[in-house]
């Protein structure tokens, strides 16, 4: 054996195979990690894309629904505007008199302020629904939801001689959700109900909106006094592109369903044996939401 002093075996000579193997494993792992990261990014990107699409679509149907309500909204804004103008001009006349009735003028100004706030409220609600953007889940009362939506269709109901019956739960019906999206669902159901009644003649036109607690959920239902949904179509009404309206896209109810499902709730419809159709949805509700 020749032992050359001062020249021990180098690290590479000793551990070449191990080093190569370790390096290989290291490279493979990095590659795998990169691949996973890229895949994850892609999935998230695709999810965001899908969510954006869904939001655009629901925004589009919201805009379309509001479009159907232009007459109603114009009516709701023009009423207070008319009162404001007449009040202001009455006040001008009262101020031009020798003896000024300050009490009356004060009342006029108070009425002008109240009507102005009313018109502003209609515009605020309209803007909220027309706005496009990210959703913000909050705790909300389903009874408030009903009041907000009915405020938008009041004029429409007057225009078409439809009366309203409200059967709201006496306690607040709290749920956790996106206010705009849930307003959209309810607005869609209400507009459909009104449309169903515009075609009926002879019988009285009545919209019934109910809210009630049902176990750990809260239920909102909308009943019309129209012809009802044909029995063979009941199971399809929430399918995309199903419509009974001549100019309908058939997307409204399918979007309602996806919104309610995303909120962990259920949506459905049935015919009342006596009159019209009932569309309802439930959302998780309860005391634990109160914080």
């Amino acid at each position: 054996m020749i032992d050359v002093p001062g020249s021990p075996l180098s690290f590479w000579q000793q551990h070449l195979t191990l080093a190569v193997l370790t390096g290989g494993v290291f490279l493979l792992q990095s590659g795998l990690i990169i691949a996973l990261v890229v895949q994850n990014r892609r999935r998230r990107w695709a999810e965001r894309e899908a969510r954006q699409r869904r939001e655009e679509l629901s925004h589009m149907t919201r805009v379309a629904t509001m479009g159907e309500l232009t007459a109603s909204l114009a009516h709701e804004i023009n009423q207070p505007l008319a009162a404001i103008l007449s009040n202001a001009q009455a006040a001008q006349r009262l101020l031009a008199l020798e003896e000024k009735d300050w009490g009356e003028i004060g009342e006029i100004l108070a009425d002008i302020a109240a009507d102005d706030l009313r018109a502003g409220e209609v515009i605020r609600r309209m803007r909220t629904l027309l706005r496009k953007g990210e959703s913000y889940p909050t705790v909300l009362d389903m009874n408030d939801l009903v009041a907000e939506v009915l405020g938008l269709v009041r004029g429409e109901m007057i225009l078409h001689n439809i009366s309203l019956s409200l059967e709201l739960s006496s306690d607040p019906l709290l749920t956790h959700g996106d206010r705009i999206q849930l307003q959209q669902v309810l607005l869609n159901l209400v507009v459909n109900a009104l449309d169903a009644m515009k075609e009926t003649s002879g019988r009285s036109r009545k919209l019934i909106v109910r809210t009630q607690a049902a176990g750990r959920s809260g239920e909102v239902s909308v009943q019309d006094s129209g012809a009802g949904v044909p029995a063979d179509k009941l199971e399809y009404v929430f399918e995309p592109f199903f419509t009974t309206k001549p100019h309908g896209l058939g997307l409204g109810l399918s979007i309602c369903r996806s919104i309610i499902q995303a909120h962990g709730g259920h949506i459905g419809c049935r015919n009342d044996p006596n009159r019209g159709a009932i569309f309802w949805f439930t959302l998780p509700s309860g005391e634990d939401l109160k914080e």
């Binding site: 007459a71 023009n78 009423q79 103008l85 009040n87 001689n161």
Partner: protein, 206 residues
């Protein structure tokens, strides 16, 4: 012009609109009465006087057009000014065809409303005058005997006594006497006046 001659009725379901219009019109010197619904107004009824109706188009239950139709059946000399929160063309055309004097979209300027009321009052005044005249003519017509009435109808067609005598099977002299009585009772001097008067009462000459 007394207070009663500047009367305006306002029918609108919305309290704030009623209140503001009432204030404005009172400040402008009118006698104003407001109603929350068409049926309230119908229940109240209207005495014939120079007046007009400021009527909201869209109301629950009985709407403006339906009230207009209901009023059309009872001849009241009450011109209608429609006000509307959302005026579409077909509705306004229907309203105007049914005899509305004006159609104002809310919110409207006081000048437009006051001008419209002025026009409506003029029309109301004229319709009342015509109605009074027609009533007077009808009173005179009611004093005619049936024979005189027959003669009147013949005279209106421009026939001579001789022709009338032939048609009615009487002597020319008798017809002349009847004709004289007709002219006397109707308080007219000429056939032209008689024709004009009878037209006011709705008797048309073919």
């Amino acid at each position: 012009m007394n207070v009663l001659e500047r009367k305006v009725f306002v029918v609108d379901d919305e309290l704030s609109v009623r209140k503001s219009l009432s204030r404005l019109l009172k400040a402008a010197g009118f006698h104003v009465e407001t109603f929350a619904s068409a049926s309230d107004f119908l229940k109240h009824g209207v005495e014939p006087s120079v007046s007009c109706l400021v009527l909201d188009m869209q109301m629950p239950e009985l709407n403006g057009l339906e009230l207009q139709a209901a009023l059309g059946e009872t001849d009241r000399c009450l011109p209608i000014i429609f006000i509307t929160g959302h005026g579409d063309i077909p509705t306004s055309v229907r309203a105007m065809k049914a005899g509305a004097t004006d159609f104002l979209a809310k919110p409207f300027h006081e000048k437009d409303l006051l001008d419209a009321i002025e026009r409506a009052h003029q029309r109301s005044r004229q319709e009342l005058r015509e109605k009074a005249e027609a009533d007077e003519v009808r009173l005179r017509l009611a004093t005619l005997t049936s024979r005189e009435h027959e003669v009147l109808l013949q005279v209106l067609t421009g026939q001579l006594n001789k022709q009338i005598a032939g048609t009615l099977g009487a002597s020319e002299k008798t017809i002349k006497v009847h004709r004289g009585r007709v002219m006397h009772k109707m308080q007219v001097q000429s056939v032209a006046d008689l024709v004009r008067l009878c037209e006011k009462a709705g008797i048309r000459v073919s």
